[in-house]
Symmetry: C2
Subunit: 101 residues, 2 copies
């Protein structure tokens, strides 16, 4: 969960309506599938399914991908961590309280 800065909502929407193929390719290389970002009331909620075996390594690979870093340089200013985020945390984790397949 992360906040979307109201003054940058239009930019964020525009960027995500046409995400760079290189960014999508890195998401796939990092073994992330069925990735959706939802928005309501200025709160972004992202959902994805991880199909790899080393999430930390796959997220680190994403964080060092030059094109992904270029992308984040555009999207990060649109976002603001929630008030309860941990120090240094960007997207804040949510807790799963129920699941059924």
């Amino acid at each position: 969960m992360i906040r979307l800065r109201p003054e940058h909502e239009a930019t964020y929407r525009r960027l995500h309506a046409d995400v760079w193929p290189d960014v999508l390719a890195q998401i796939a290389r990092s073994n992330i599938r069925n990735y959706t970002i939802f928005l309501r009331d200025g709160i972004l909620f992202s959902y994805y399914e991880y199909v790899g075996t080393d999430l930390d390594a796959d997220l680190a690979a994403m964080a060092t991908d030059p094109r992904t870093r270029e992308w984040w340089a555009l999207t990060d200013p649109c976002q603001q961590p929630v008030e309860t985020a941990a120090e240094g945390e960007w997207w804040a984790p949510t807790e799963e309280v129920f699941h059924t397949d």
Copy 2:
């Protein structure tokens, strides 16, 4: 998206840690799959995938299932629609701003 009333959080967690089999069966009969409820900062986000052909009819079937209604009689008091919910709306819809498979 819906709010979880802080004073009922423990009850809501307890209920969802052991959801009634009849409620799970109706979810499946209503063609809902991969259903997860996430919690952060007093906000519940639910995610599911609909695999049927008539969502309204399948949700109506759920809403008329006696055991599901019994379940909702326990869970509804734990929840509170978000301030921006439409009149009569319980869970408020979010908007998908990005998706990749």
